[in-house]
Each structure stands twice: as structure tokens, then as C-alpha cells.
């Protein structure tokens, strides 16, 4: 034994003390959060805020939070960010609803919002305080939980009267938001109130790569040296064909005119062909009949017959963004959020944004969707008040200006739309604001995801089949799919 005789007694004592400290520390580490979870008085000045999106969205919200915290030094906002748009965020929110740990403020997309709205606080008074007429067209309707009939009516009538090209300002398009409907009119209403306020949105237009266009001009495949201001479906198809060719003559196409959109991004075309997915009340499936067949014939023609769209195996693992960026695909359907991405690439000044082509009946439409802020109300009055303060801040001209200036999304307030245009005014951004006039809300129905998947599955199969049935039979089979039969009335 080399230990000193004097320390012999001390060592066990020291050891025991160390053990006790260790155990105490471990216990504290394990259960401090548990105590915090059940502590009755939570700090109402600490607000949790959950959102989804890309890293750019994260930095944008960070900026908004910083601005809010500077203005309200007593309140701190804890940012809980889940990367991505679908699935994981949604299921996370559901888990949190289940465990009653929902953050005070939650950013929601339309489709999940419809199912989860009852779990959030009604915030009509906030909307009234801002003034319903100050919101951009369709923004408020998106979150009003009422029948599709009264929601669609205004936008639909506008569409038929305005197949108008770009150029006119957005200010004149402002129309009064309809009053809240009463419950008797709306059999499918579960709630009449707003459970969310829109903060940002996006509509879909066509991006055109100028390098591809000019290369097609150089090769003599197009005569018009610059792209047209306004166009029809036939113009669109011709341009797509002109930009599709075999560059190196190896017998394999390597330049394509158009990135085949998935059906959700094809909705603008479906609408422009004057077809519709459902009736206004979203109770019956109406994607049948000659107009719908026309729309899907056009789709199949682009994808398979004329082959202006790459098959997945032509440009594998290239997502739309990279396909467009690398000039392998001349056109694609995308929203305003695509622009900041392109701004970071060498394509910065080499693309333009085109409108959706007008359909044979002179109709032009596009799809718009909004993201909204919800207040969960899982905590006390004080916390809710602070949460409302943040939501109110996000709809201030300051915050809306920050959102608009990124160019990633349209602001929800009319007064901030000019900020979206950028300095100096960017024509491409103007197109998105002009498109607000003919934009219709993305359709939603309770079983959205299931039906979405069913349509996608049918469409892929139909496009992939060498010996295909005609559009009539395709749409008939789709309408007979279990997902659609069970989600809609016959």
C-alpha cells in the first residue's frame, strides 16, 4: 500500500462525498425539466414559436423575432424550427397537441390547418383590428373556416371577367373581403371564425431560362427573338417544343422545354382549361368532362407524346430547381421563393417570369396558398397576450416589409406589396403581384393528403404507360379511386 497513512481515513469520506454530489447532479439534470414541465407558474414572457421551411425561412423568422424583441424587450421568443414543409412538421405539431406542449404560436400551411384549426384560438378580433380590407386578395378567405361556396365565389367571378395580361397595377384589384358567412348557408362549416392570420403567401408562374430561349433562337427553332408578353396554351407548347432537342446528336434528348409539374403545380393549367377539381363546396368531385380531359390530354402530350418534359431517368436526381438552373430544362412552374435561390446562381439575370398561358376559353388562373400564424392558447392569459402581440407585430408594416423584401413570399398586407417589388422595381416580381388578380386559392378538402397521393399515383402510372388509355378513361378511373370515392359525395 502506497497511500499515506494520514489520508487513509479521508479518502473514503472524500469518495463518498464525491459520489453524493455526482448523484445529486445527475438527478438534477434528469428531472429539472420535469419540474419545469409541471411547474404551475410558467414565465408568460417567454413565448415559443414553431415554424417550418428552409434555412432561409429560419433566418427570415430570426430577423423578425429580433425586431420584435427589440421593440418589446420584456418578451423573449423561443424559435422552434423544423426543416421541411410536409409530414415531419405536421406530425410534430400533432404530437405536441397530444401532449399539450404546443408552442404558443404555430405557423401553419393551409392543408394541415383545415384539420387542426379547432385546436387553435379564434383571432377574429386581431384581424378586425388590422382591418380585413387591408389584407391581400384571398389571404383572409384562406383561413376562414367556412363553406367553399362563399370562399370561392369572389375569385371565381373575377377570373371570368379578367383574362387580362400583365401590366395593370395591383392596387386597383383590391376588392372588399366578403363578410363572414352565417352558419345556415354553409353545411360544411365546422367553425366560422379565423383561427389563423395569413402572414405570407405564394402563387405559381412560369420561369423561363433566357439562355435556353436564346440558344433555341440561335438554332433557328424559334423565330421570335424575345419571349412574348402574353401567350396561349399553343404558344406555350410551341416554345416548349422549340427548346427540346438533342444537343450533342447522340440520339438522346438532353435539352428539354418544360419541367413536368406534379399535379398540384399543374392546377393553374387545369383551371385555365376551365376545368375544376370539385364543386365550390368541395363536396363532389368534378374533375371529369371535356374540359378536364382537354387539360390532361395537354399534360400527357407535353410529358409523353411530344416529350418536351424530361423523364426522371433523363435527368435523374436533378430536382426541378437544379434542372432549371443548369439550363437542361427551359421552363418550370414555381413560386416567388425560387427567386432568391436563383439570385445566388449565375442565372441571376438570365431568366424571366411568364404568366400562365390563357386557356382555350380565354381563362387564365393560378394557384395561391398562404401560411398563417395560429395561437395555441395552451397557456395562461398573459402568455396568450404576448403571443398575440407577436402575431400583431408580424402583420405590422415593418414585419411585412421584411418578409416582402426577401422576395421569397408575398406579404399578406396590401400596403406592403410595393416592398415586394424591390428597388429598382423588378419586372419578375411584378408578375407575381399582377397574378394575384387571377389567383385562386389552392383547393383543400379534409382528406387532402390521401387524395393528393391518389392523384399523383394515377397520373404517374398514366404518363408512364406506353399503351395508355385516353384522358376520359383516365379521369374516370381516378374518380373511381377509393380515396376519392370515400372523400366526396357521389
Amino acid at each position: 500500500m502506497h497511500a499515506h497513512r494520514g489520508s487513509r481515513k479521508l479518502i473514503p469520506v472524500l469518495r463518498r462525498t464525491a459520489q453524493l454530489i455526482l448523484i445529486a447532479a445527475a438527478t438534477w439534470w434528469l428531472f429539472a425539466d420535469t419540474i419545469a414541465r409541471y411547474r404551475p407558474t410558467e414565465n408568460p414572457n417567454q413565448i415559443r414559436f414553431a415554424h417550418f421551411g428552409s434555412h432561409e425561412d429560419y433566418t427570415l423568422w430570426r430577423k423578425l423575432i429580433d425586431a420584435f424583441e427589440t421593440a418589446n424587450p420584456t418578451i423573449t421568443i423561443k424559435q422552434e424550427f423544423i426543416p421541411g414543409w410536409y409530414g415531419r412538421y405536421d406530425s410534430k405539431i400533432r404530437r405536441q397537441i397530444l401532449s399539450k406542449t404546443l408552442p404558443d404560436i404555430v405557423l401553419m400551411q393551409l392543408a394541415p390547418y383545415r384539420r387542426l384549426a379547432p385546436h387553435f384560438q379564434p383571432i377574429d378580433d386581431l384581424a378586425d383590428a388590422i382591418g380585413l380590407e387591408n389584407f391581400a386578395p384571398t389571404a383572409i378567405q384562406a383561413f376562414q373556416f367556412k363553406s367553399e361556396k362563399s370562399k370561392r365565389a369572389p375569385t371565381h367571378t373575377t377570373n371570368q371577367s379578367e383574362p387580362r395580361p400583365s401590366g395593370s397595377g395591383f392596387a386597383s384589384k383590391r376588392k372588399p373581403t366578403p363578410n363572414k358567412p352565417n352558419a345556415q348557408e354553409t353545411p360544411h362549416t365546422r367553425d366560422n371564425t379565423l383561427h389563423a392570420l395569413p402572414v405570407s403567401g405564394g402563387n405559381l408562374l412560369i420561369y423561363l431560362n433566357l439562355d435556353c430561349y436564346e440558344e433555341a433562337v440561335r438554332r433557328g427553332r424559334i423565330l421570335n427573338p424575345s419571349p412574348p408578353d402574353d401567350w396561349t396554351m399553343t404558344d406555350f407548347q410551341q416554345l416548349a417544343e422549340a427548346m427540346t432537342y438533342d444537343e450533342n446528336n447522340d440520339g438522346r434528348l438532353d435539352r428539354f422545354g418544360f419541367w413536368r409539374p406534379r399535379w398540384l403545380y399543374y392546377i393553374p393549367f387545369i383551371w385555365s382549361f376551365d376545368a375544376r377539381l370539385t364543386n365550390d363546396a368541395t363536396t363532389t368531385w368534378q374533375l371529369i368532362g371535356p374540359n378536364a380531359e382537354h387539360a390532361f390530354d395537354f399534360y400527357r402530350e407535353l410529358a409523353a407524346t411530344r416529350r418536351v418534359c424530361p423523364k426522371p431517368s433523363d435527368l435523374p436526381q436533378i430536382i426541378q430547381d437544379v434542372g432549371f438552373l443548369s439550363g437542361k430544362v427551359g421552363m418550370c412552374v414555381n413560386g416567388p421563393w425560387f427567386q432568391p435561390f436563383l439570385a445566388k446562381t449565375r442565372l441571376r439575370d438570365r431568366y424571366i417570369v411568364m404568366t400562365i398561358p390563357t386557356g382555350p376559353n380565354g381563362i387564365r388562373a393560378t394557384r395561391i396558398t398562404w401560411d398563417g400564424l395560429c395561437i395555441s392558447g395552451t397557456r395562461g392569459q398573459a402568455a396568450q397576450r404576448n403571443a398575440r402581440a407577436f402575431v400583431r407585430f408580424c402583420l405590422s408594416s415593418e414585419a411585412q416589409g421584411i418578409i416582402a423584401r426577401t422576395g421569397r413570399a408575398l406579404p399578406a398586407l396590401n400596403e406592403s406589396l410595393p416592398e415586394f417589388l424591390g428597388q429598382p422595381t423588378d419586372d419578375r416580381r411584378t408578375s407575381f403581384i399582377t397574378a394575384l388578380s387571377y389567383a385562386r386559392l389552392q383547393p383543400d378538402w379534409p382528406e387532402f393528403v390521401r387524395v393528393d397521393r391518389a392523384i399523383g399515383r394515377h397520373l404517374e402510372k398514366w404518363i408512364g404507360e406506353p399503351e395508355h388509355v385516353d384522358a376520359h378513361a383516365f379521369l374516370g378511373a381516378l374518380a373511381e379511386d377509393d380515396a376519392i370515392r370515400e372523400s366526396f359525395e357521389p
Binding site: F31, D33, H55, Y58, K92, R95, S99
Partner: protein
């Protein structure tokens, strides 16, 4: 009897053959990793050019800087290190203790527990996920690293226990018994006789646990909500989906994320063969 006669020339011939086979196989196994490395040094345009040579004409090292600039990747690395180290430590400690109890001590209902151990090996982890989430939530652990670390301190994985048990069983009985007859307590026996002998298993179990937690994807996904607490596995996925397919950055991030695994593997690998021993009595 020809074998006996031809031993010498046969031998050298076989050596050459074995080397050739080894070289071919090793090349096949290493090629994807090399391709990953090469892609990580290309600009995006060349990555998507089927005619461009695989070898970058000018290695673009800035991709590696870009990785850290696009996303807070350094943060992810630190988080992963923290989670994996703590978890690995707990896994080795508790799994070796459990293995010792199963192999050398009279654990009551030993057969039952052992069966349960094997059963948990084949239990689809998703069965447990929903109830576990509810449990961790009740404890207020959501959003912390505890749901990722604490399970490692509670047994450290069936496979590790299995490894330790098999190893302790194979230690000649007289060794342990001699210590016990000298008056050593089971704890002392574990600490001073068994664990030093079991060094290969300790290294193996520690490395495996570290790697397992480093690669763990779905736990962090469901339990962590704050972006700044993300580990590397979630970070990699973000390069795939969020910033467009920046495949060159994704590959660069992949390369960086595997460096710690590579280091641990290279340091620990000489112990691995001694640790895995399914030949011993399987009860």
C-alpha cells in the same frame, strides 16, 4: 498427396491470386467513397455533366467552406459529439454490468431475462416509439438530449449486453473464482478482473455505440425541435432537401461528418475481431 509435393510453388501462386482478389474487392469497396470525395471537390455544373471527367481539373476546396456557410454545420458536429460521447459512455458502463450479471452472477430468472434480451434485439423499434414519446413528454424531456442519451444509460443496447455476456462467459472460470476466493466482492471482481480482460469488448461496444448515436436519425428528428440542437444526421438531410440539390455540398458535408467515425474506427478496429465471438456457448 499431390498437395504435399507441390506446397512451395502452389503457395506463392495462391498468394498472388489472393492479393489480386483482395485488390479487386478493396477497389470496389473504396470506389464509392472516392467518388464521394471527388464529387465534393467539383462545382455544381460539372457534377451534372455526364461528359466531364470524374477527376476535378481544379479541386474546389471552397465547397468545404461553403458547407459551413450554408448551414451551421460546425454546430451540428459539436452537438453530435456531445450526444454520442455521453451515450457511448453510459452504454459501455451499463451493458457491461448487465452482461456481467447475466454471465457470472446468479441473476434470478436468468433464462427469462436472456430471452427478453434476444426479443428486444428483434423488436421493431417503431412499436415502442409512440408510447416512448408519451413517456418522455410526461417527463418534460422533449426538446432536450435526454431521450437520446438516457436510454443508452439503461442497458446500452441489447447487442452490447450480448457481446459482454458472451465475452464474460468465455473468460476461464478459474480466473474469476480465484479472485472471489481471495475475498474480492463482485464489484471488485468486475472492476479489476473482468473489465480489464474485456478491453476488446469495451472498445468495440464504445465505438459501436458512438457510431450508432452519431448516425441516429429518427430519434433526433422527433425529439429535437430547436434547429441549434440538431445533430449531424439531421444536418445532412437538410443539404439533400433544402438548399436545392447541392450534391457537391452534400458530399462535402458527408465527408466531414464521417471523419470522427473514421478516426474511431481506425483506432478501435484491432480490438473488434476479439470482441465478436458467437462461437462460445449460446446457452
Amino acid at each position: 498427396m499431390k498437395i504435399e509435393v507441390n506446397t512451395k510453388p502452389n503457395r506463392s501462386w495462391r498468394t498472388v491470386l489472393t492479393y489480386t482478389a483482395l485488390c479487386v474487392v478493396a477497389t470496389l469497396f473504396a470506389l464509392p467513397l472516392i467518388a464521394c470525395l471527388l464529387t465534393s471537390l467539383q462545382p455544381l455544373e460539372r457534377v451534372y455533366d455526364a461528359n466531364a471527367p470524374l477527376l476535378p481539373s481544379q479541386p474546389r476546396w471552397t465547397n468545404y467552406v461553403e458547407v459551413f456557410r450554408t448551414l451551421p454545420f460546425a454546430r451540428f458536429m459539436v452537438n453530435s459529439t456531445l450526444i454520442s460521447t455521453t451515450a457511448a459512455f453510459g452504454a459501455v458502463l451499463t451493458s457491461s454490468m448487465a452482461g456481467y450479471a447475466l454471465a457470472n452472477l446468479n441473476l434470478p430468472y436468468r433464462r427469462l431475462w436472456f430471452t427478453a434480451l434476444i426479443a428486444t434485439l428483434i423488436l421493431p423499434s417503431q412499436i415502442l416509439f409512440i408510447p416512448q414519446f408519451m413517456l418522455f413528454d410526461a417527463l418534460g424531456w422533449i426538446g432536450t438530449y435526454k431521450p437520446l442519451i438516457v436510454p443508452a444509460w439503461l442497458g446500452g443496447g441489447a447487442f452490447n449486453i450480448f457481446l459482454f455476456r458472451q465475452f464474460f462467459k468465455s473468460i476461464p472460470k478459474p480466473l474469476a473464482e480465484a479472485a472471489e476466493l481471495d475475498g474480492a466482492s463482485p464489484w471488485q471482481c468486475y472492476r479489476y478482473v473482468m473489465m480489464p480482460t474485456a478491453r476488446p469488448v469495451v472498445v468495440t461496444a464504445a465505438s459501436l455505440s458512438f457510431m450508432l448515436h452519431w448516425r441516429f436519425f429518427f430519434g433526433p428528428l422527433m425529439y429535437l425541435s430547436d434547429f441549434n440542437t440538431f445533430p449531424v444526421s439531421l444536418g445532412l438531410r437538410m443539404y439533400q432537401t433544402l438548399a436545392g440539390t447541392w450534391i457537391n455540398l452534400l458530399m462535402a458535408a458527408t465527408v466531414i461528418s464521417t471523419i470522427p467515425l473514421l478516426a474511431i474506427f481506425l483506432m478501435g478496429q484491432r480490438f473488434f475481431p476479439d470482441a465478436v465471438s458467437p462461437n462460445s456457448d449460446a446457452d
